[in-house]
Subunit: 319 residues, 4 copies
Amino acid sequence: MMNKVRKAGVVGATGYTGQEVLRLLRGHPRLAVAFATSESEAGRPASGNGLRYVRAAHAPLGEVDVVFSCLPTGESGPWAVAAAAAGVAAIDLSADLREPGSGAVYGLPELWREEVRGSRLVANPGCYPTGILLGLAPLLAAGLLDRSRAVIVDAASGVTGAGRNARRDLLFGEVAEDYRAYGVGNRHRHVPEIAAGLARVGGGTEFVFTPHLLPVRRGILETMYVPVAAGADAAAVLAACRAAYAEEPFVEVREELPSLRDVVGRNVVALGAAEVAGLSEPLVLLIAAFDNLIKGAAGQAVQNANLMLGLEEREGLPL
Amino acid sequence: MMNKVRKAGVVGATGYTGQEVLRLLRGHPRLAVAFATSESEAGRPASGNGLRYVRAAHAPLGEVDVVFSCLPTGESGPWAVAAAAAGVAAIDLSADLREPGSGAVYGLPELWREEVRGSRLVANPGCYPTGILLGLAPLLAAGLLDRSRAVIVDAASGVTGAGRNARRDLLFGEVAEDYRAYGVGNRHRHVPEIAAGLARVGGGTEFVFTPHLLPVRRGILETMYVPVAAGADAAAVLAACRAAYAEEPFVEVREELPSLRDVVGRNVVALGAAEVAGLSEPLVLLIAAFDNLIKGAAGQAVQNANLMLGLEEREGLPL
Amino acid sequence: MMNKVRKAGVVGATGYTGQEVLRLLRGHPRLAVAFATSESEAGRPASGNGLRYVRAAHAPLGEVDVVFSCLPTGESGPWAVAAAAAGVAAIDLSADLREPGSGAVYGLPELWREEVRGSRLVANPGCYPTGILLGLAPLLAAGLLDRSRAVIVDAASGVTGAGRNARRDLLFGEVAEDYRAYGVGNRHRHVPEIAAGLARVGGGTEFVFTPHLLPVRRGILETMYVPVAAGADAAAVLAACRAAYAEEPFVEVREELPSLRDVVGRNVVALGAAEVAGLSEPLVLLIAAFDNLIKGAAGQAVQNANLMLGLEEREGLPL
Amino acid sequence: MMNKVRKAGVVGATGYTGQEVLRLLRGHPRLAVAFATSESEAGRPASGNGLRYVRAAHAPLGEVDVVFSCLPTGESGPWAVAAAAAGVAAIDLSADLREPGSGAVYGLPELWREEVRGSRLVANPGCYPTGILLGLAPLLAAGLLDRSRAVIVDAASGVTGAGRNARRDLLFGEVAEDYRAYGVGNRHRHVPEIAAGLARVGGGTEFVFTPHLLPVRRGILETMYVPVAAGADAAAVLAACRAAYAEEPFVEVREELPSLRDVVGRNVVALGAAEVAGLSEPLVLLIAAFDNLIKGAAGQAVQNANLMLGLEEREGLPL
């Protein structure tokens, strides 16, 4: 019975996230794609999976065990809710169901694995929050944070994080050789998700989140300036992370600071820390790096699917 | 009288070509921008020129001596024709008026300067044809080509050549780390323009044109495989080019093969040649490199404007 | 016995090619890395394989079944020859042993699989020749080429093809936003290898080879202008390729022209063709695209190792 | 007398900084290059200036009014000191003379113009410090900073900031698609220079400086998290900057946050600010963007040269 191959559907499969789910499932030994939907490409072959795209309205929901909803925010959540109501395990990769009270479990397995395991409806975390929450959770839990001061998160993301819609500001001619901040002043739509996650993990803490658009295709690097309690230092921060993630295959705590090249193509968040000497109020530099499309989206969704279906969590995921 | 500053209008000023015309005119000592049009940005400041964009319908045509029409192909030509009819010197940067019989002069100054000088309506050449025609014209004129065999033109262009419209295939996430041929098999829309230009310059010759999309913002490199007459070689090709362009400030004939870095940011076509030894039928490699937005578009348009207005052709153009 | 895991050594493991061999072997179910050598990194961990680099002089050759020699050209061949003499299957990834008469088998499995199977010493093909030979071999075999005219190969390669040595001309600041030809006029060191391969495959044919340096990390695209015999066309070319590679997992003959994105990360050469209409002498456009580090180097080497060790050729190779 | 063209020498002219000085001086109406030195390129033409490189030992120092010393740190300062001792105005673009007590004037004209004007020996500021000092100086002067808390400076620089030496970690194959922090924990060599500058400008303040390497050629973006005094906000910060730089052509205070594209190719530092709402301890986001090779190096050096020679400060500088 454990050897049975389960069936998955991917809704909204031609965006970057949907394509990455399809790509990962091609290498998954126990989860096969039964359908993939696309309005614009309906009827055309879904490369590498031996299928043709169908319209979402024609998706044979009854044939699958799990559905990955990769539609745009606003459409995706309702689709996932309906699928779950129809008895199919559903993972929403949009921002629709990430807020507390949405009825979905927030699917960050390293922090809330048991909730995911028993769930039929999972909100897959946003890319930026994934690294921030995995980085700060052990520090909050260990009481290392000085919560009277704000954590500063200066983040940079590759362009696939913005999706695959035709937008002038995402043209190669605009992005290449540029670097810019956007959604500053805690106005990015991931801010409430980060706040809710931090609250849940350890009572919350103030933070400032500044994302930047990086001229690379994939990868997020989050440079966090963490106010630490008196006596705490980078070694203590690393020790707390190591203890928290000792058994986790998808979190790497490193001696050296991670960069995008260490993580692109892998379902991993890499963490590193460094001391900042000589400050009146102590601060530790904590850097999280990960592939926004894998551990920040599709890979994490596969982790969630594995848990929901009772499969081994690591199946089909590139380390 | 020669010191009078003339006035220019730029229609469709927020695309890559229009922006480049604005940028060049900021440094032009005798041609000032009097208006710049944009439908989407109307009312907003046109950066660096101290103006605000107006809608094309409100363009004060009566106030200018010359107009640069940078609208999309299909709209641009009619606009330029109307402006010329209203007595304003008009340069159409689209493909609309490049065909013989359009009533416009084909504005490649190094080959047809006198026609440009006397004209009120100029079709600014396409980017790809500019390098091909400047490269092959001296060889046709000197009888160096073996016209029984086709010239092969393998070309690569930066993405700004495709314009600034929001298209999925031009997103950074699609173009970065990619390279691809497009419009192959002489199906690119510049092919008739190249054929007409070669015919006019020296009786024409067969050619194969294969453009590729390059993950850079600016620049075109055309690698031409030129069948040469018996006895001709790279030295003869270079000598013919040098003789033809001895007095031309905007064509550089080089000892070494040019690359994009030699030309980006400058109003120049650089030419170089190399021998291919040991072939039964002799062939010379001829490479043309230039900035698609300058010598391939806006810079050449300024050359044309200078000629049409009786100004010194080099004014305002970066060497 | 078929289930036994064999052992491999990688010599010169910190260049791009060596790193790629290590990466591929991490996913190989029947071939494990027993040692990896590096002079500069000796003693440091070889990431992801649980080993530390050793100096080449300390490589425990007696413990392995096969060795991948990824040293610089000049050093690599002798190393492989010595290993083979010591009884270890040896694959030389440098240019040292690619010439006929070197004593090594030329390891392009799709063309000369049986020779590889019985060999102890294999010369792994150069990246550029791999695509050219796989593209042209079926045409030569089928008599589709007009051998009185030269094939023109206009090729573009990502920078990893030039190796990982510190060179000013390969700095990001030099390569980004540039594109240039190099080694033109059939002076590139791969030219004799291409000529020898074509001779062996079907009597040879004249060609012109022009490589260009592309601002991408990985991937080669070869745009070939193939003079075809009267009556032959793109359909005939594609049919010949399809027939030749019907059983080959690592050659894809496509309806549409391939681009780098179709092949990067995969052990595949993708081929496509297009008609050029209206020429006096018929020509077909044939495009080969592949990942220079995989099918153009490390992946092909793993194919060769699999054949030499009697393993299934596809083991450990990403499709 | 004001119309006389002065003569300049450029020492170490083939690095990125030296090349940029040469490029700027080509457009300078009153300062002509009389010599340019290079050990590796001695005897070869210095492109575009009509000169040939000479060895530094043969530099005709007696023929010039000013010398730009662009040698590596360690060599450059002594060269500049010697030139100044020989009576030539000398600008050192290395880090050698930037510390107080070096005998050189620290050449950040917007802050210390008068010292520069009277000097024979100027230390040209480092790239990172230029943006930080120009951004924070008005806030320190206006008492807007809460100096009990550290300013956090998260900076990203294009690769030309690291110079043009052949280094493996700066290869295109390493830098493209990557992003990484380096010199963290206030260990970057610009930290003492920043500290000294802040001390001089207004009594100093604690800061944390984290540079990152960006896969672009040119440009620095510094995202500064500025602790402000009670009652201060982004509007106050912008007002202070506007007041301080009202007469400065090379500092732009913007409504919108600047990005690299706004400044690359220009001798300008662009500043923008944004509010971060809802924090217990108020913070303003201040962003500085500039071209590391122009306002961060060669352009600023030309400003200094103009001042030292009694020329108009803006001459030869692209706005």
